[in-house]
């Protein structure tokens, strides 16, 4: 079994395989990454840090591109960004 890492997504603990990005963890938790300016829930598109659709607040830092950040134990992830 691969090792797992626990992160906190919007207050709930989610376990993912070690090495997974935050975008993957959020997708596995069946959450959207952000809400668009007209209120649409959005998920990642490009997977490579270009489109900014996966942006969210990670450890208090807004505008973090979750597809380029690997999950670390205890990370605090919030997906309430516009």
């Amino acid at each position: 079994m691969p090792r797992v890492v626990s992160v906190v997504i919007n207050g709930s603990v989610v376990e993912v395989a070690e090495g997974a990005t935050v975008a993957v963890a959020v997708s596995l938790a069946q959450q959207s990454c952000r809400t668009s300016v007209t209120g649409e829930p959005r998920g990642p598109l490009c997977g490579m840090g270009i489109c900014f659709e996966c942006r969210m607040t990670i450890n208090g830092k807004p505008y973090s591109r979750s597809c380029q950040i690997v999950c670390e134990p205890g990370m605090d992830v919030r997906t309430d960004e516009q």
Binding site: A17, G19, R42, I50
Partner: protein, 433 residues
């Protein structure tokens, strides 16, 4: 303001894909003090992403040489400004650093071209390379139903990769015609290594349907993708699926080169036979200079690295190899040209700019990218037009505008460093570009 590292290199390479690795290796092996910077957390670029740990036979020798040549690896750094020649500012997760260089090699790669169609903003509609990147980053794909659509050889590579990881590939939709693909195959046959790769892909995709002259019309679902309707040789068909991986070939990342003042023509960074841009001391290789794939990127990277180290005699010996690889680039461009029918994909309420949620109906009345930006905020959001720019160029023939720093969104504290760095410019140095 956060503390700042000051780093100085003979040769700085920006972009850690094949072109960047080759450039860094060749320059460092020639005795230069070299660093390679990338905004991802690992080297390899998109094509060798997660393959640089030794699993990829093609990437492994370059990574080994990079380590042996003592190249400094700077991952997770996003360059956002050049206050003056020879100094770049970059932002990491929690800091800003100054990168000083004598010679610069811009190997910033390419991104996928996305075209808007109804439903393309639903969750689980990804770029083709986008879904692959997510799977490489840990997204489980086993048993999932995937439709792969768009254009270009990337579709096949992505489909094969996803299938290897247990995905059920329902269909590969290629917008190019069968005859265009046949002509492309003829070019491949002239390049043994490419032909071997193509045959390997074909073997891996045995039993998977590839449909030419086929493209997505609409994605459906309630916030999350449930199905996709495609146009298959003028008939529509709807397929239930978990993921749509959809990309329309590649567009070069030229923002950094443009910021540095390098001449850009037809969307590509202009270089001479030495991979030298119009700005002295600045070289560029790989996709920014023309979409040509790994082989071309590697040989162009080698030439740039050698030239940055002043080894033009060694670089010259690689010119014929480069000429051969460029033939493929030309064939790619011909074969996967976008068909005009794709301009009719968006309906009035289809969002073209996903950052500012600007629908197609609001854009089509404007005559230029600039007018549309000013009136609708199209392209003014977080991605700075990296997604909707290439789309509106195709849909409306709008030309992109000059870039301005910061070339990617940065924290306010990082912006403050632009002011700090400008103040430290001595008189006589150029302060602009």
């Amino acid at each position: 303001m956060s503390s700042r590292d000051q780093l100085r290199y003979d040769v700085l390479v920006v972009g850690g894909g094949p072109a960047g690795l080759a450039a860094a290796v060749r320059a460092a092996e020639s005795g230069m003090r070299v660093a390679i910077a990338d905004d991802n957390f690992k080297l390899g670029g998109q094509i060798w992403r997660a393959a640089v740990d030794g699993e990829n036979a093609e990437a492994a020798p370059w990574v080994k040489r990079l380590q042996r040549a003592n190249v400094t690896v700077l991952c997770g750094l996003r360059i956002f400004d050049q206050p003056y020649n020879g100094l770049l500012l970059a932002e990491s997760l929690d800091d800003v650093c100054e990168l000083r260089y004598e010679k610069l090699v811009v190997t910033t790669g390419a991104r996928e071209r996305f075209l808007p169609f109804p439903g393309w903003t639903l969750a689980n509609v990804f770029g083709a390379g986008g879904l692959q990147a997510m799977v490489k980053s840990g997204l489980p794909i086993h048993g999932k139903r995937v439709v792969v659509a768009g254009t270009g050889p990337l579709l096949l590579a992505v489909a094969a990769y996803l299938r290897r990881h247990g995905a059920e590939i329902l269909l590969i939709c290629e917008q190019a015609s069968a005859s265009a693909l046949a002509r492309f195959a003829v070019t491949l046959m002239q390049q043994p290594e490419k032909l071997t790769q193509a045959l390997q892909l074909r073997k891996e995709l045995a039993g998977v349907a590839l449909s030419t002259s086929t493209w997505p019309l609409a994605a459906h679902g309630n916030h999350v993708l449930e199905s996709v309707t495609i146009s298959k040789r003028e008939r529509s068909q709807t397929l239930g699926c978990d993921y749509l991986a959809c990309g329309f070939h590649l567009v070069p990342n030229t923002e950094l080169a443009a910021l540095l003042g390098c001449k850009i023509d037809g969307g590509f960074v202009q270089v001479d036979e030495h991979q030298q841009t119009s700005v002295p001391g600045v070289f560029s290789s790989g996709e920014p200079t023309g979409i040509g794939g790994v082989e071309l990127s590697l040989v162009e990277g080698e030439i740039a690295g050698l030239m940055a180290a002043g080894k033009s005699d060694v670089a010259r010996r690689l010119f014929s190899k480069r000429a051969r690889a460029r033939r493929l680039a030309k064939a790619l461009e011909r074969a996967f040209r976008l068909r005009p029918e794709l301009t009719t994909l968006p309906s009035g309420d289809t969002l073209v700019c996903r950052c500012e949620d600007v629908p197609f109906s609001r854009l089509r009345t404007y005559g230029s990218w600039r007018a549309a930006k000013l009136q609708t905020r199209c392209g003014m959001g977080a991605c700075q037009g990296r997604v909707c720019g290439p789309a509106t160029e195709f849909l409306f023939n709008w030309k992109p505008e000059s870039v301005r720093p910061p070339i990617s969104p940065v924290r306010l504290a990082s912006l403050a460093t632009i002011v700090g760095a400008s103040e430290s410019v001595h008189s006589g140095l150029s302060g602009g570009h």
